[in-house]
Amino acid sequence: MSGLAAMGRRWLRLPTLVRHLVVALVGLGVLLAISEALSEYRNTQLAEIAYTVCAVAGLTLLTGLSGQISLGNGAFMFVGAYTVALLLKHHPFGGITGYQSNWWLVPVLILAVLVAAAVGGLVGVAAARLRGPYLAGITLALAIGLPSLPKYQHLQSQLGGHAGIPISAPAPPGSIDYFRWQAWICLIAMVITLFLLANLASSRVGRAFKAVRDDEISASLAGLPVARIQILAFVVSAAAAGLAGGLFGLISLDAGPDSFPLSLSLGLLAAAVFGGLGSLPGAVYGAILITLLPQWATDLSHQVSLSSKIVNNLPLLVYGAALMLAMLAVPFGLQGLLRRGWHQVRDWRRRDGLAPG
């Protein structure tokens, strides 16, 4: 017991960066091993969860840490997906026919991140001037307006109109299964995203986010450039959403205007809130929930023998009810619940004199 505690203390004395790196590598190893054991469809779901985690993690940082709300992160996913689609359509990356090497993925996804971050910066400039419902309003408009751009008459030929732009699939190297390879791409991107965001959150920037969130006036009195910090938070969350969008494009093989509905943006926020705002592990729980819950609800509904009109509408009801129950039962999110549970256990142990020191 004391050996374990000593190990724990030594672990905590390691630099944060090293600890994050170790966890990221171990986590990636575990996830890839899991992927190996899963069927094709479960791998697609794993990929879906992984890119959703990227988007939710960015959003949870924006809302939980810097205190700004965004109902429009689906629009940044749209930007990411279309960046990938347009690059592959027009650019030398797309010229690598057969896609024997997968290295083109790296620059393409980085560009998707950069373009989305740039758009996020523009929105951030406006957002830093707005508060509460006004900020929610402008991001809502973004979520509805931006993905409709390809439908605009004069942009239809460039952006593929309603059908969108097809994206070529990354060919798996060697004998790796196609769907497993897609999951791996998304998992690697997810781990890198979480690693970077975890470092950011525990760095000076993360503390500045929190300072601005808690009290803008005292933050600016302490010498923090409040507006710039708020914009930076938008850029970070847009970048993460851009990556998520790029990955979505690679999985669905199409960047289409109708793939990024308002419900997607709201779903991302629901996931962040359900997992626990500001918490990266919470982003993971939330992403799992919004990806798998609709399907569980559908499977569940089809097990009852009622009129088809009721059964068809039941999944939405179950999904909505589950989200509402979750909010009533755990208003601080799952991560909040776990943290409280852990503190409770620690307090009991302290009281009983079990805790070391």
């Binding site: 966890v23 899991i34 069927s39 093989l253 419900s263 997607l264 592990p281 993971v284 799992i288 068809n312």
Partner: protein
């Protein structure tokens, strides 16, 4: 923040548990193969899948299509199946939401290992899955939409349309307007996607630009509100309104116009004109003030199948019999007829794919074409043409039925392509209801 990394690891473990918990249930679902190596085909079954709007804005009316197709397949199965195999039809609800369509189709292809996707419904929805289905080389047969976009054999060799495409429909309706309402101002009301655009283009091929007063569009939403557009249709001075709408929006268009005392001659494309479906909508939305299709009388539309009210027609008799046996609760309307007719074409294709069908052989069979069935006009299918029915017959709504007038017409989807009559009589339905050719 110190324990953040450990928490991340813990959450990673949760991903693992969540996914693997459902992973265990799926492993047995693949289905063994007997006699054929194609996915979804066993010695005794062929499993196919679809995405359908069982809920949402497009559900009223369209949600009957998949149960009707399934009823036809049950009939086939009860009569020994196709080449000894029963057809298992698994259709998932996408609520007419394109992002849900993607999830559904991934599930059908990867988890349920379907042989083919059959009759996936909707233009904006199905467009999102065409690249995936073609990359995976999954036959994508008889899409339930008349978008021209299914006819791209070079980039989408697996995808085939079924119903008359909207441009052909627009041309036929446009020609009727030119013949019967020449010189009158025409306004177009269309869904703001490829459905509306293709149809509008067809009308413009026939009606001179100087006669087109305005083109108004709508974005399909769960609660239709078309007051702005209808006011513009009215103020344009149009006497004819051509609609490329889903049934809910046909009803919204007519009710809003009636409220504004705007009474144009309606010309409505086939997908939005089923009288029973639209009438039910109008009765419900007007709380009973408009009933029995009062606003639909005299509406011009078109059809590529026999009228459901034509009780002497051999196909209608067959489909009525199947409806009575398997889906007695559904009304016998255009949607039910559509579902069964499309299912009949699939049965023909499966039969033509041979005793041991493969994904390649069924695509080759459809490209070979030559299916004659419930349609009034032939299919266009060939290796260079993946569009479906080549034309339609004009119909006028009386009561709650469409009365077909004149002879069936065929044409192509080009601006200058001629419209020619197709006088060949519709073939009789086989006595057993199972395709023999």
């Amino acid at each position: 923040m110190t324990k953040a990394p450990l928490r991340l690891l813990a959450s990673g473990a949760v991903v693992a548990l969540a996914v693997s918990a459902c992973g265990s249930s799926s492993s047995g679902g693949g289905g063994g193969s007997g006699g054929s190596s194609a996915p979804g085909v066993t010695a005794t079954t062929v499993t196919i899948g679809s995405h359908q709007p069982l809920t949402g804005v497009a559900a009223p009316g369209y949600s009957e299509i998949a149960p009707a197709s399934n009823a036809y397949f049950k009939w086939v199965n009860a009569h020994g199946g196709i080449n000894g195999r029963k057809i298992v039809y698994k259709y998932l609800d996408d609520g007419y939401d394109p992002s849900k369509t993607v999830t559904d189709v991934h599930q059908l292809v990867e988890q349920d290992k379907v042989f083919a996707i059959f009759n996936g419904l909707g233009t904006p929805t199905h467009e999102q899955v065409v690249p995936f289905l073609n990359a995976q080389k999954v036959p994508d047969l008889f899409v339930a939409s008349g978008c021209l976009c299914w006819n791209k054999p070079s980039t989408a060799p697996e995808t085939f349309g079924w119903q008359t495409d909207y441009t052909r429909e627009g041309k036929l309706l446009g020609q009727y307007i030119e013949q019967h309402f020449k010189g009158q101002k025409v306004a177009i009301f269309a869904q703001n996607d490829d459905f509306g655009t293709d149809g509008t283009n067809g009308v413009k091929d026939e009606v001179p630009a100087s006669d087109i007063a305005t083109v108004q569009t709508y974005q399909p939403l769960p609660t239709p509100n078309v007051a702005t557009q209808v006011a513009k249709l009215q103020s344009s001075g149009a006497k004819i309104v051509v609609a490329f709408t889903v049934p809910g929006y046909t009803a919204a268009l007519q009710l809003t116009a009636a409220a504004l005392k705007f009474q144009p001659q309606y010309v409505i494309s086939n997908v939005g004109s089923d009288p029973i479906t639209v009438s039910n909508f109008e009765t419900a939305a007007s709380k009973g003030k408009v009933s029995n299709g009062a606003l639909l009388q005299g509406v011009v539309t078109d059809g590529y199948l026999s009228s459901p009210a034509d009780k002497s027609n051999s196909w209608i008799k067959l489909f009525q019999q199947i409806r009575k046996k398997y889906i007695p609760k559904l009304p016998f309307d255009g949607n039910v007829e559509y579902g069964m007719a499309a299912a009949y074409t699939f049965a023909q294709a499966l039969k033509a794919a041979g005793a041991n069908p493969t994904r390649q052989s069924i695509v080759a069979a459809v490209e070979k074409g030559g299916f004659s069935g419930p349609g009034l006009v032939p299919f266009a299918f060939s290796s260079s043409d993946h569009s479906g029915f080549t034309g339609a017959q004009i119909g006028i709504i009386h009561g709650l039925t469409i009365h077909l007038v004149g002879t069936p017409l065929i044409t192509d989807d080009t601006a200058n392509g001629a419209i020619t009559p197709y006088p060949t009589a519709q073939p009789q339905a086989p006595a057993s209801g199972i395709p023999s050719d």
